[in-house]
């Protein structure tokens, strides 16, 4: 195949791109949360932040779990939500199957943000209550309470 | 019988202005023009059916067909035919062939009205027609209020034929009024109305006053349907004839 010339040019361009003030970390395209319209918060070495919804052939990123629940009506099919947890690379996986939500046993949720600029930090999932307590210790938040999935859904629905 | 209303509207062809319900041309459906020519390089075709009713005679049916061409900016020329059929004598008439020239002198600028003039020449091709008919019309258009417009038409008509008991030169004045209907949610219909005074060709009569009302309805991107009704309402000498004229027409630009 006559790919080498094309590839050489590509190589050079990638180099140029890398040099133009761009971040060196491959990350999702600059995008806003489909619900709150604020910029998505990227994962860090210490903490995952990207909430990913898998529906049909789409994989859509949200800023927080609250935004996902609020925006869920746009999707008719079953959802799988990869919600960042206290542990990097180990999301809490929520499912909406036939319209009914489910979460892994023991999972608890935080939902205390007042403004959406704080939603990524304060609307999250945890694998267990101990992890929740540990997170709150490091990130104090007024009125923080470990919610079950049903409580979390009810709380989001209230707002 | 000489047809009073035809004096005003019949012998000389109306022109087709830009085919848009807002742009008004004589005969479609009333007798007045606005002060705008059709667009440069526009061609327009217009046809319309007319029915003239009379108290003391049978109705007359007419079919006007006209072609216009915008040959320069603000100027157009046209040719028109108006064959007719009279039920009283059961005869058809090819009618006169009418040539027209329109010149838009200026658009409305600030408080100054738009001005135009047109010249029409009727060639004596119809049954019993004599001489060449010429009409000169001065036109003024001015917006009143937000969207409504008044259109003042001043006519002088003359004929090369000298006929006993007929005036060789007559005058006329028409005040037209247009009002778009449905603004600001609908944009396809215009109400047209007029008051007109025409000097009769017949020396035994004087000025004839008439009123008219009509609608221009856009039916396609470049076509307009129109419907109008006119009636003589008074004469300065003698009784009003109370003739009623119906017109329904279709115009298309291309």
């Amino acid at each position: 195949m006559k790919l080498w010339n094309q590839f050489s040019k590509s190589l050079a361009l990638v180099a140029v791109i890398g040099a133009m003030g761009m971040t060196s970390i491959a990350s999702a395209h600059e995008a806003d949360c489909p619900y709150c319209k604020l910029k998505l918060v990227q994962n860090t070495k210490e903490l995952d932040n990207e909430v990913v919804v898998k529906v049909g052939n789409k994989r859509i990123e949200y800023r927080c779990l609250y935004c996902v629940i609020k925006d869920q009506k746009r999707y008719k099919g079953d959802l799988v939500v990869y919600s960042p947890s206290e542990k990097v690379g180990a999301p809490v996986i929520l499912k909406r199957t036939g319209g009914k939500w489910s979460a892994p046993e023991g999972a608890v949720f935080l939902n205390t943000f007042k403004k959406h600029k704080d939603c990524a930090a304060l609307s999250r999932a945890f694998t267990n209550k101990a992890a929740f307590d540990s997170y709150i210790k490091k990130n104090p938040s007024e009125g923080a309470k470990a919610l079950t999935l049903d409580q979390f859904l009810a709380e989001v629905a209230k707002n | 019988m000489r047809l009073i209303s035809v004096i005003a509207t019949g012998l000389l062809a109306s022109v087709v202005l830009a085919v848009d319900h807002n742009n008004v041309d004589s005969g479609r459906p009333l007798r007045f023009d606005d002060a705008y020519s059709i667009a440069y390089r526009e061609r327009a075709f217009e046809t319309g059916f007319t029915l003239d009713t009379f108290r003391r005679s049978s109705p007359k049916y007419g079919l006007k067909t006209e072609y216009k061409y915008g040959f320069a900016k603000n100027q157009d020329i046209g040719i028109g035919f108006e064959p007719s059929y009279s039920t009283s004598n059961r005869r058809g008439d090819f009618g006169n062939v009418e040539l027209s020239y329109f010149n838009g002198l200026r658009r409305e600028i600030d408080d100054q009205p738009a001005l135009a003039y047109r010249l029409d020449v009727g060639l004596p091709t119809g049954t019993g027609s004599k001489g060449v008919e010429v009409r000169a019309r001065g036109i003024l258009t001015k917006t009143v209020g937000q969207y409504d417009k008044i259109h003042l038409n001043l006519d002088v008509m003359t004929s090369t034929a000298r006929i006993m008991d007929e005036r060789q030169t007559t005058a006329g004045i028409t005040v037209g009024y247009t009002k778009p209907l449905g603004y600001p949610t609908q944009f396809d219909r215009t109400l047209v109305a007029q008051f007109s005074m025409e000097q009769s060709r017949d020396r035994s009569r004087d000025w004839v006053g008439s009123v008219g009302l009509g609608i221009r309805q856009q039916v396609g991107v470049r076509s307009v349907l129109d419907f109008g009704i006119e009636s003589d309402v008074f004469e300065t000498k003698g009784r009003a004839k109370s003739s009623v004229r119906f017109a329904i027409g279709y115009s298309v630009g291309f």
Binding site: M1, L3, F7, K9, S10, L11, L13, V14, A15, V16, I17, G18, A19, M20, G21, M22, T23, A26, S27, A28, H29, E30, D32, P34, L38, V55, N57, K58, R59, E61, Y66, R74, Y75, K76, G77, K115, H116, K117, N159 | N22, Y36, A39, Y40, R41, E42, K73, N74, G104, L105, R107, D110, Q146, Y147, P184, T185, F187, D188, V221, R222, F254
Partner: protein, 513 residues
């Protein structure tokens, strides 16, 4: 190979970082009003109405083949006319309320026939009739180019030749707007600039919303078979009415942003539309500037017209103006995009795009690998209001999959006359305009993706391609369903350009819940 790449990136980074310090000229907002040029064309003072008819042709009004699109386009004639009339009749205070509601109502329930803008803004036209001539003539070009593209029965070559003729027809009139790229930052740098969008953001949003429609449609139509055009408008029309009309943008949508393929083929037309839309913005700003007297407004509108007229730029060439950056005759354009003038903060091909952030237009929007040369290439993705060029179908699919909402993918096949149009629903389920479409996706290095990720109109075309490329001998044809379910995520070659928004440096903090 990846190590080689990273090393090369690292080595060149230093050089390029230095280059960035020498940014382009940045025109700042001038404090003094532009003065009347000595060579203002005489027609501006002509009292005639000077109406011009469109070029007589069999394709006229072919736009009506897509009724919702035609009607939305007809509705666009209403907005500016109503706003201008309000501005010149002392109803500025109602612009964001009553006038907005009226325009919005019309745009949501558009007329079924074109609207005579002059009839809607009689006061404005009496004052600024010369401006109406420029607008009308350019709007005719807008409509006729669309008509050509929606006309059935002509080949792409015939259509493109006719669009060239339309451009000549348009350019022959003195009201023609230049097809040269102009520096948008310069055109937006006058004392009154930005006034309208600041004072009347909702109405301005509607204006830019329908400028979006007027520009996004060209790639919907360009080289797309007429039978595949209407389906796309179900996506775009919905996006227009629900989102784009109400989007708060940083700058007006640019034609090359919204329809990159068409703009690449007809840069002069893309530039003319952008210059036209900028003239609209200039006029909005002039009319909104309270400090200007009526005489100054008249003068400034005439000067604004002069700036963009074709006659003003006679003898100048696209790409020229490096010696006069940020001025009237700055006709530079991004290297990859001749159909766009320089934008605020732009450096060659890198520009800030509303909704996308900083983008390099010379590379694939998904994998950041350069786009091949030539007017046609891999694919475009239209989603969430933007249209992006990508190198291959894999990039198109994965980019559409990570974007909320419906999407349109347009891609080349082995048959130049058959563009693949894939429409994605809200959940990424794709439908195709080519029933037997077959995909090749033999995943390898991204810089080569346009070679191993392709679409074919039939299995036999796929087989032939594989035969001609022995290193793909093991490849299996993929059906649409099978192919659509693949997702390879964000490529590791993707590089995001991380710079602040030049139009709105302060980050937004968002509202409450």
């Amino acid at each position: 190979m990846r190590n080689t790449l990273l090393l090369f990136v690292a080595l060149t980074s230093v050089t390029m970082a230095v280059a960035q310090d020498h940014g382009g000229h940045q025109p700042t907002r001038s404090g003094t009003l532009p003065t009347m040029p000595s060579d203002l064309p005489r027609w501006i003072s002509s009292p005639g109405a000077d109406h011009l008819f469109y070029k007589a042709a069999p394709y006229n009004w072919a736009i009506e083949r897509i009724p919702p699109f035609a009607q939305d386009m007809y509705g666009t004639g209403v907005g500016h006319a109503m706003a201008y009339e309000a501005l010149v009749t002392g109803r500025k205070a109602q612009l964001e309320t009553k006038v907005f509601e009226t325009i919005d109502r019309v745009l949501q329930k558009p007329p079924r026939i074109p609207v005579d803008e002059a009839a809607l803004s009689p006061t404005f036209v009496r004052k600024y009739g010369y401006l109406e001539k420029v607008f009308d003539w350019a709007h005719i070009l807008h409509f006729q180019t669309i008509d050509v593209l929606t006309h059935p029965g002509w080949s792409d070559a015939q259509k493109e030749a006719e669009i060239e003729r339309l451009w000549s027809f348009y350019s022959a009139q003195p009201y023609a707007i230049t097809g040269l790229p102009m520096n948008m930052e310069y055109l937006d740098s006058f004392p009154f600039s930005g006034r309208f969008r600041s004072n009347y953001p909702k109405v301005n949003g509607l204006f830019w919303g329908y400028h979006w429609l007027q520009t996004v449609n060209y790639d919907m139509l360009f080289r797309v078979p007429v039978q595949d055009q209407a389906a796309q408008y179900s996506v775009l029309g919905s996006q227009y009415r629900t989102t784009e009309l109400y989007r708060m943008r940083d700058f007006m949508p640019m034609t090359a942003e919204m329809s990159p393929r068409f703009s690449k083929r007809f840069p002069m037309i893309a530039n003319a539309f952008d210059n036209l839309h900028m003239l609209h913005d200039n006029v909005n700003d002039i009319l909104a500037a309270e400090e200007l007297t009526e005489k100054q407004r008249q003068e400034q509108v005439k000067i604004a017209i002069y700036r963009v007229l074709s006659s003003t730029h006679k003898g100048h060439e696209p790409g020229s103006g490096e010696d006069v950056p940020g001025s009237l005759h700055d006709h530079r354009h991004p290297t990859s995009t001749p159909g766009m003038g320089f934008m605020k903060g732009m450096e060659d091909d890198v520009m800030y795009m509303s909704g996308m952030g900083w983008m390099d237009m010379s590379v694939c929007a998904h994998c950041s690998i350069p786009l091949p040369d030539g007017p046609m290439w891999g694919a475009t993705v239209t989603a969430d209001g933007w249209t992006m060029l990508v190198r291959c179908l894999m990039c198109a699919r994965d980019m559409a999959a990570e974007t909320p909402g419906r999407a349109i993918i347009r891609a080349a096949t082995e048959d130049p006359s058959r563009i693949l149009v894939l429409i994605s629903d809200e959940e990424g389920i794709l439908t195709s305009n080519i029933p037997g479409v077959v995909f090749l996706e033999e995943f390898g290095e991204h810089p080569e993706c346009s070679a191993w990720s392709r679409a074919f109109t039939s299995k036999s075309a796929f087989d032939q391609f594989v035969r001609e490329n022995p290193d793909l001998a093991q490849s299996k044809p993929l059906s649409l369903d099978a192919w659509a379910q693949i997702n390879r995520g964000t490529p590791d070659t993707y590089r995001k350009i991380d710079r602040p928004n030049p139009y709105r440096p302060e980050p937004t903090t968002g509202g409450s819940r």
